[in-house]
């Protein structure tokens, strides 16, 4: 079974802090994704990566950046956290067309 592990289930951060969300996969997949999930909006793509050191903006990249130094690890960075970034963040990998998701990180910015 594919395993996608997000480092934290719950995080509380202060406005203006730099926040790192980590995601690790164990199946050697090239493609990795970060989504945020908000009630009534479904999942929206923030950034994705199709190879080490490669990254592409998704639909809502503003206020975020990413890092992919190793194939198995994809990090989402909130440069200066704001309250409107309070959300559930989901990491995913993909093999052919099927996506595999982590458990999610519920981030609260106060």
């Amino acid at each position: 079974d594919v395993k996608v592990t997000q480092s934290s289930r719950y995080l509380v951060k202060r406005t203006g802090e730099k926040v790192f969300l980590e995601c690790v996969q164990d199946m050697d997949h090239e493609n990795m994704f970060w989504y945020r999930q908000d009630p009534g909006l479904g999942l929206r793509l923030i950034y994705f990566s199709y190879d080490v050191k490669m990254k592409e903006k998704g639909d809502i990249p503003e206020g975020y950046s990413v890092s992919r130094e190793k194939k198995e690890r994809f990090s989402l960075i909130l440069e200066s956290a704001s309250t409107n970034q309070t959300s559930m963040y989901l990491c995913a990998t993909r093999r052919t067309q099927v996506a595999f998701f982590g458990q999610g990180t519920r981030l609260t910015v106060v």
Binding site: V4, F33, Y35, G40, L41, G42, L43, R44, L45, F48, Y50, L90, A92, R94, Q97, V98, A99, F101, G102, Q103, G104
Partner: protein, 114 residues
């Protein structure tokens, strides 16, 4: 550009009755379509997928969906709801060309009462 519309934000059924969750899609190319389920405090799990083979697709836990090109629909059904089906369901579309980005609907919360 692709998009999906889930027509109901909430659906309530009684245990043992049929389930219908509706999804319409828009795609410039021949799409691949998926249904994912998210149980409370859990990650998303693939229920089923359509990728151009049979139009009636069977998934896990007794769910199935039918691809209807003429209606641009991919509705999810189950003959008899179980309490454990209570969850949020997402319809997802992906083009089969290019990078094949996944586009999610806004979700339908299924409530199952005894």
């Amino acid at each position: 550009a692709q998009s999906v519309t889930q027509l109901d934000s909430h659906v309530s059924v009684s245990e043992g009755t049929p389930v219908l969750l509706r999804c319409n899609y828009s795609s410039s190319y021949s799409p691949s379509l998926f249904w994912y389920v998210q149980h409370p405090n859990k990650g998303l799990q693939l229920l089923l997928k359509y990728t151009s083979a049979a139009t009636l697709v069977k998934g896990i836990n007794g769910f199935e969906a039918e691809f209807k090109k003429s209606e641009t629909s991919f509705h999810l059904t189950k003959p008899s709801a179980h309490m454990s089906d209570a969850a949020e369901y997402f319809c997802v579309v992906s083009d089969r060309e290019g990078f094949q980005k996944l586009v999610f609907g806004t979700g339908t919360r299924l409530l199952v009462s005894p």
